[in-house]
């Protein structure tokens, strides 16, 4: 756990934009409880601009830190700009993540994209999509090690 840098630890210990939102304009839920990360993003949008954003995350310290950082990065931006956010941007803003935690930043990117998609579906009067609890975990992006008990 000492593998996290100070920025990641700070974002994990004092995350911004935590909690659910009443009557959001868009919601995205991604991840898989089987793998130990689920991220839910809530958007408030006015004139195509994200005026408020919240997250709820079940996951490790990196998942919580990336949720916090990603929401901070798109708050005040237009939804179009939010769609350009990549996992690399989030990881870089946190000063880097350990290789096995890169999937957490990908989850943040997907969470924001899913919330924007939901916002756009609502504009078109379409029903919300169900949560995207992927069957496949992203963990295999990182280095896989055997589970070693002590």
């Amino acid at each position: 756990m000492s593998m996290y840098n100070e920025k990641v630890i700070a974002a994990f210990m004092n995350p911004k934009n935590v909690g659910a939102m009443e009557n959001p304009d868009g919601v995205g839920e991604v991840g898989n409880p089987r793998c130990g990360d689920v991220m839910k993003i809530y958007l408030r949008v006015e004139d195509e601009r994200i005026v408020d954003i919240r997250f709820e995350t079940f996951g490790c310290a990196a998942a919580i830190a990336t949720s916090s950082m990603a929401t901070e990065m798109v708050k005040g931006r237009t939804v179009e700009e939010a769609l350009k956010l990549t996992n690399k941007d989030v990881a870089n803003a946190l000063g880097g993540l350990p290789p096995e935690k890169i999937h957490c930043s990908l989850l943040a990117e997907e969470g924001i994209h899913a919330a924007v998609e939901d916002y756009r579906r609502r504009l078109e009067g379409l029903p919300s999509l169900p949560p995207r609890h992927d069957a496949v975990c992203h963990h295999d992006l990182g280095e896989e090690e055997e589970n070693r008990g002590a």
């Binding site: 756990m1 089987r34 995350t57 310290a61 919580i64 096995e100 589970n147």
Partner: protein, 390 residues
């Protein structure tokens, strides 16, 4: 930030007790002789190694000649399993074990499977116990060895070793138990208990890392893993880790005193206070493993709706050292195979928390954990999409 430090990961390793360290120190630069040398330097060390062997034997009520020192618990497990499999390969090629063994056993048995042995891996119940009747049915005409851990490292469950050993004896099957977690914490008497091979590690009982022991009942034949100078009755070649072995002997003496004096019961009382305190103060939490057939220093839980690594990191910042079987802490895709084998779902297993007490754990340490844990759980649950209230 609070400066209090509470180490609660004694299942991972214990500190080396001062009394143990003091007995070890002369064996680096003063009593440095090779115990296999015949001169005074060697003879002095040989007698200390012999005393340590007698101390470890005494802890189990074994004969000193039944104790082999190894380079740790994993090596002792490998030696027992591969050593028996090799000697008895003509007699049979079936080995029985359980799904919740330490990897040192499980992976060794699986390796035998790749060498053409037939392997049965038994399931466990929701409390981590092996069903003795299921065990009995698994024993076949060609079974040569059964290996079942004395007590589990992740959930603390103590197995019905006597019953399983008796079944093995009735069927002429050798019985090995990995007692790395149990030895030195639970009274074990091999004169009374039907086990043929038993693994121990010094660093789980206030001794040093890198030294273990295998009890091999008189008359049981095993083949060595390490060939060479023929040390340890020809079963583990290599110049003895003399300081480590002396440390193990001192740790065994300490453990025997702790068991005889009832100091272990005080640890058990604190453990129960911790278990009851966590279960009552943290909602949606449950004990993992058996409530009473349990290591006296072991408390383990599943805290629903949150993930283990996040919990450990926040506990660490609060000065509490704990462990978890979540995927993020294991570095693998899956949460603990032990918890999954006990039937827990993945999401719950990700929220596992293990707190293991030590000989110096105090009432104040338990109070401190019970004060710090609930708000940490509450904070993380407030961030969780699954549930808000602690």
């Amino acid at each position: 930030m609070n400066s209090r430090k509470v180490y609660m990961d004694h299942s991972a390793t214990t500190f080396v007790d001062r009394s143990v360290l003091e007995r070890m120190l002369p064996f680096f630069s003063e009593k440095y002789g090779n115990p296999n040398s015949i001169h005074a330097w060697g003879r002095e060390v040989r007698s200390s190694v012999d005393e340590a062997r007698a101390s470890v034997a005494r802890l189990l009520n074994a004969d000193p000649r039944e104790i082999l020192f190894t380079g740790g618990g994993s090596e002792a497990d490998n030696l027992a399993i591969k050593g028996v499999a090799e000697v008895l390969s003509e007699k049979g090629r079936h080995v029985v074990t359980t799904a919740i063994e330490h990897h040192a056993v499980l992976d060794t048995v699986k390796w035998l499977g790749k060498q053409g042995y037939d392997v049965t891996i038994l399931p466990v119940g929701p409390d981590g116990l092996v069903d003795v009747e299921v065990f009995r049915k698994a024993i076949r005409r060609d079974t040569i060895l059964a290996t079942v851990m004395y007590a589990n490292n992740e959930v603390g469950t103590v197995q019905p070793i006597r019953e399983m050993g008796t079944i093995c004896r009735e069927n002429g099957v050798l019985f090995h138990t990995d007692a790395v977690q149990a030895a030195g914490h639970i009274p074990i008497d091999v004169k009374d208990l039907p086990v043929d091979l038993l693994t121990m590690a010094a660093h789980k009982m206030y001794g040093p890392k890198g030294v273990g022991a295998l009890y091999v009942r008189k008359g049981v034949r095993i083949a060595p893993l390490v060939h060479g100078g023929g040390q340890e009755f020809g079963l583990r070649s290599g110049t003895e880790n003399t300081a480590g072995i002396v440390g193990f002997g001192a740790a065994a003496d300490l453990a025997a005193r702790r068991i005889e004096s009832g100091e272990i019961n005080e640890e058990l009382r604190l453990r129960d206070r911790l278990i009851d305190g966590v279960l009552s103060r943290v909602g949606d939490s449950s004990l993992t493993g058996h409530r009473t057939f349990r290591l006296p220093f072991h408390a383990s839980f599943c805290i629903r709706y949150i993930e283990g690594e996040a919990m450990l990191l926040r506990l660490d910042f609060a000065g509490i050292g704990a462990s978890s079987g979540s995927a993020c802490t294991s570095g693998s895709l899956e949460p603990s195979y032990v918890l999954l084998a006990m039937g827990l779902d993945h999401a719950t297993a990700h929220g596992s928390l293990r707190l293991t007490l030590g000989k110096d754990t105090t009432e104040g340490d338990i109070d401190y954990i019970l004060e710090m844990l609930p708000p940490i759980v509450q904070t993380l649950r407030a961030m969780s999409p699954f549930k808000k209230n602690a």
